[in-house]
C-alpha cells in the first residue's frame, strides 16, 4: 500500500553532506571515547573484548555505508 505522501524536493549539496558526515563522526568519536574510558576505568569483572568488537564492527559498517552514500551524492 502506498499512501502517496510526497517527499519535499531537495537538492543534495556535497558541502552540506560532508559537514553533516563530519559532525556525526565527531559526535561518534567523542561518545565512543567516553564510553571506552568508562568501560576501562570502572569495569567490575571484565568488559568482554567481544562487546568492544561488536560495538566497533557495527559502527564501522554504518559509517562505511554513510561515507559511501555521501561519496556517491557528492559525485
Amino acid at each position: 500500500m502506498n499512501w502517496g505522501i510526497q517527499f519535499p524536493m531537495v537538492t543534495f549539496s556535497p558541502g552540506v553532506i560532508a559537514a553533516v558526515f563530519l559532525a556525526i563522526l565527531l559526535v561518534f568519536g567523542t561518545f565512543s571515547a567516553v564510553m571506552l574510558y568508562l568501560w576501562r576505568q570502572y569495569q567490575v569483572g571484565a568488559v568482554s573484548g567481544l562487546v568492544t568488537r561488536i560495538y566497533f564492527t557495527g559502527s564501522g559498517i554504518l559509517i562505511f555505508l554513510m561515507a559511501a552514500a555521501g561519496l556517491v551524492l557528492s559525485l
Binding site: M1, N2, W3, G4, I5, Q6, F7, M9, V10, F12, I17, V20, F21, I24, F28, F31, S32, V34, M35, L38, W39, Q41, Y42, Q43, V44, G45, V47, V51, Y55, G58, S59, L62, I63, L65, M66, A68, A69, G70, V72, L73
Partner: protein, 176 residues
C-alpha cells in the same frame, strides 16, 4: 575499580535482570523499523541522488540508535551490587558522569527484604532487594535483581559467619 581490603575477596557480582536491558532495547528496535516503514508509505520524488541520500540518512539514524543502545548497556553493566566476605558495595551509574557508590559492612546489616511484584517478576524470577543497615539508617535498594532470594540467603550466611567470627575474636580476647 574497587579497592579490596587485605583478606577480602569478592563473593558475587549482581546486576539487574537481563529483561531490563531487553525492555530498553525494544523501543530502539521499533525506532529502527520506522525509516523502513516510511520507505513503504512515502513516495519519494524521482530526483537523482535520492537512493544514496536515503542510505545516508538511514545509516545515520541506525548509528544514533546503535550508540544509544551501547550507552544504555554501559549504564546496565556498570550498575552493580558487589558482595564480598566483609561488605556490600552498591555502585549506581546514573549517567555517564554521575556515579554513586555506597557500602556497608556485613555486621551493620539489620534487615534484608525481598519483594517480587507481578507476573513477569515471578515468571522470570527477579525482584527488589532492600537492605536495612544500622547506624545512619542507610538503606540499599537493588531493583530487578535476578534470584533475589538466593542473594538474601547468601547475605544471611555471610552475616552469620561475620557475627560468629567477631564473637570468637571477642571470646579469645586481644593478647596484651
Amino acid at each position: 575499580m574497587i579497592e579490596l581490603h587485605r583478606d577480602e575477596h569478592v563473593i558475587g557480582l549482581y546486576r539487574r535482570h537481563w529483561l531490563v536491558m531487553v525492555q530498553q532495547a525494544v523501543p530502539l528496535l521499533l525506532l529502527m523499523a520506522f525509516p523502513f516503514l516510511a520507505l513503504f508509505y512515502i513516495t519519494f520524488p524521482q530526483v537523482s541522488g535520492i537512493v544514496p541520500f536515503t542510505v545516508f540518512a538511514i545509516s545515520g539514524w541506525a548509528l544514533f540508535l546503535w550508540m544509544t543502545f551501547f550507552g544504555l548497556w554501559t549504564g546496565y553493566y556498570l550498575d552493580v551490587l558487589v558482595l564480598t566476605n566483609e561488605r556490600i558495595i552498591d555502585i549506581e551509574q546514573h549517567t555517564f558522569f554521575h556515579r554513586e557508590i555506597s557500602e556497608c559492612r556485613l555486621e551493620q546489616i539489620q534487615d534484608v527484604t525481598v519483594e517480587s511484584h507481578g507476573l513477569f517478576a515471578h515468571f522470570f524470577r527477579y525482584g527488589n532487594l532492600n537492605i536495612q543497615t544500622a547506624g545512619e539508617s542507610l538503606k540499599f535498594s537493588v531493583n530487578f535483581l535476578p534470584n533475589p532470594e538466593k542473594v538474601k540467603h547468601e547475605l544471611s550466611r555471610l552475616h552469620l559467619e561475620m557475627a560468629h567470627r567477631t564473637h570468637t575474636v571477642e571470646e579469645e580476647g586481644v593478647p596484651a
